[in-house]
Amino acid sequence: MYKLGQYLPGVSPVHKRDARVKIIAVVAVSVITLHTKAVGLALVAVAMASVIWIARIPLVYVLRALKPVMPLSALLLLLHLLFTRGTPLLPFPVGLVSVTREGLYLGLLLVGKFLLLVIAASVLTMTTSPSELTMGIERLLRPFRFMGVSSHELAMMLSLTLRFVPILLEEATTIKEAQLARGAVFNSGGLRRRIQTISCLVMPLSTSVFRRCEELINAMEARGYQPGPRTYLQELTLSWGDYLVLITVLLVTAVIIWL
C-alpha cells in the first residue's frame, strides 16, 4: 500500500520538537551547508549524524532517502572530475580530458553539500507527521499572504492534496493497467498515435478529477467551510525544550555566517 511520505512515528526528543522549530532548523542547516567549505561540512555532517542517532532513525532509511539523488550526484561528480583544470591526479590523460585534484575536491564538495541538504530535509520529514508539518507551515506563514492565499488556505490546500494523492494514484494505476490489458502500446507508433495513447490515459483521469472537485466543493460548503481563518484540532505550542533548540540553532547559524 502507498505510504504517505517518509514519516516514521516515534517518541524521541527529535520527534517531540515542535514542527516549526524543526522547519527553522532545517532551513538553518541548509543555509550553513550552502555557505561553508570542507571543514564546515564535516561539522554539519557530525551534527546530522548525532540528530539521526538521537531520533533512532535506522541507517537504511537514510540511505533509502539518498537513493533518488544518487544519479544526479554521480553525474555532477563526473562532470567536475573531467572538466576542471588543475594538477593532474593521474599521470596520463583519459582521452581528451584529465582527472585533476581540483576537480575531485570541487566535485566531492558539491555532492557532499547536496547530500547533506537532502539528509537534513529527510530527518525533518521522517520525524514529523504530514499533519504536523502542515500545521507548522501554516503557523510559520500565518502573518503572510503568499500569491493571494493566506496560510489557512494554503494549509487547507496541502491537506486536500495529501488526502487525494493516494486516491488518484490508485485510479491512475487502474486506468493504465486496463489500457495495457487492452493492448495499448506506449513506446511505438507515430506521433499522432502516441498522442492518442497518452490522451486515453489522461482523459478519464481528468474527467474523474473534475467530478471529484465538484463533489468536494459541495461537501466542504455543506460542512460550513469558507476560505479564510479557522481553528484546528491541534494548536502547536512551544515547550522549553523547543525554545532552547531554537535559540541554539539561531545562534550557531549567526556565528557561522558572520565568521
Binding site: 487547507m156 460550513g224 484546528y232
Partner: protein
C-alpha cells in the same frame, strides 16, 4: 422545523423546472425517507435544506432562518448536516480525527472544544481506534461513518443523507442504518434519500417524488402498500410487500403493510394457523389446498 414554501428550482434557463412548487414541512424528531425515480428532483430538493442551492422561486426556512439570508447560512449549515453518496469525495482531513475536526474548525471553536467534540463523535460511530489513521485506509462503510462523525461533531439538529448506503455492502449498510436509527432515538431529525425500498420502510414518514413534485407523503405502511402507484413510477416496492400484495389479491386475508421478512413470517404463520383451525372446524377437501 424545515419548511419549503412553493419551492421552485430550475437549472439555468431550462424550460421545465427540476422542482415545481414544493410545499413541505418536516418537524423536529421525524425520520423521513424520500424516494422517487432518477431525475425526480430528490437530490436537488435536499440540497436546498442547507443552502447549497437557493430556490429560483419560493422560500426555504430552517427553524425560522431563511436560506437566502447569507448571514444565516453558517448557522443553517451547522444545524443541518449533510452526507453525500460517495464517501471518498467528502473527506478532507489527512487523518480520521482531523477530518472530524473540519466542521468544528470551520465554526471557529477553540481546540479544547474541538478535541472534546471529535472524541465524542468518533466514539458514537465507533471509529475511536482509527482516530490517527489516514482515511484512505478505511473501508467504504467506515468512511461513511466518518462522514457521519464529521457531521455529528457540529452538533446538528438535522442530518440529511443523499443515498448514503448505495455504495456499501449489505452488512455495513445494516450498520450505518442502525446508527441512523440510534441517532434518531437521541432526538436528531433524519432525512434520507434512498433507492432502496427496504431502507425507506424504516422511516416514519415516506415522501415519494416524481418530476419535481411530491406525489405521495405519509407513513410507509400506507405509501408502500400502494403497489400500483409505485410501479407506475417505475419504483420497485419491497419484494416481501409485493408478495403480501399478491396474496391479498388472490383473496387471502393478509396485511400488505409488511416490509421485513420477519413480519411476513409472522403474518403468514398467523394465516396458516387460522386456516388450520378452520380446517378442524369444517373438514372438507378444500382445506388441503392451504395446509
Amino acid at each position: 422545523m424545515i419548511r419549503t414554501e412553493a419551492l421552485v428550482y430550475r437549472y439555468g434557463r431550462e424550460q421545465s423546472p427540476v422542482l415545481n412548487a414544493i410545499n413541505l414541512c418536516i418537524e423536529e424528531g421525524e425520520y423521513v425517507a424520500i424516494i422517487g425515480p432518477n431525475g425526480c428532483g430528490k437530490t436537488t430538493l435536499i440540497r436546498h435544506f442547507n443552502a447549497l442551492l437557493l430556490p429560483t422561486a419560493g422560500e426555504v426556512w430552517i427553524d425560522g432562518l431563511n436560506t437566502r439570508d447569507f448571514r444565516s447560512v453558517g448557522e443553517i449549515r451547522r444545524r443541518v448536516g449533510m452526507i453525500f453518496q460517495n464517501p471518498d469525495n467528502q473527506i478532507v482531513g489527512m487523518t480520521v480525527e482531523e477530518d472530524t475536526a473540519f466542521g468544528p474548525g470551520n465554526l471557529g471553536l477553540p481546540s479544547t472544544e474541538i478535541r472534546q467534540r471529535v472524541d465524542e463523535a468518533l466514539a458514537t460511530v465507533g471509529l475511536k481506534e482509527y482516530a490517527t489513521r489516514p482515511p484512505h485506509h478505511l473501508s467504504g462503510g467506515q468512511k461513511q461513518l466518518l462522514a457521519l462523525a464529521g457531521v455529528l461533531a457540529m452538533h446538528p439538529k438535522y442530518i440529511v443523507l443523499d443515498e448514503p448506503t448505495s455504495s456499501l455492502d449489505p452488512i455495513t449498510r445494516e450498520h450505518v442504518l442502525l446508527m441512523l436509527k440510534q441517532l434518531h432515538r437521541k432526538g436528531i431529525t433524519i432525512i434520507q434519500v434512498t433507492h432502496n425500498m427496504e431502507e425507506a420502510a424504516i422511516a416514519d414518514r415516506l415522501i415519494v417524488m416524481n418530476q419535481g413534485t411530491v406525489v405521495a407523503d405519509g407513513p410507509p405502511s400506507r405509501v408502500l402498500s400502494n403497489i400500483n402507484q409505485l410501479k407506475l413510477l417505475g419504483l420497485a416496492p419491497p419484494r416481501i410487500t409485493e408478495l403480501m400484495y399478491y396474496l391479498q389479491r388472490m383473496g387471502e386475508d393478509v396485511r400488505t403493510d409488511i416490509f421485513t421478512v420477519t413480519d411476513a413470517v409472522t403474518e403468514i404463520t398467523t394465516l396458516t394457523n387460522r386456516l388450520r383451525q378452520q380446517a378442524v372446524v369444517r373438514p372438507g377437501g378444500e382445506v388441503c389446498r392451504y395446509v
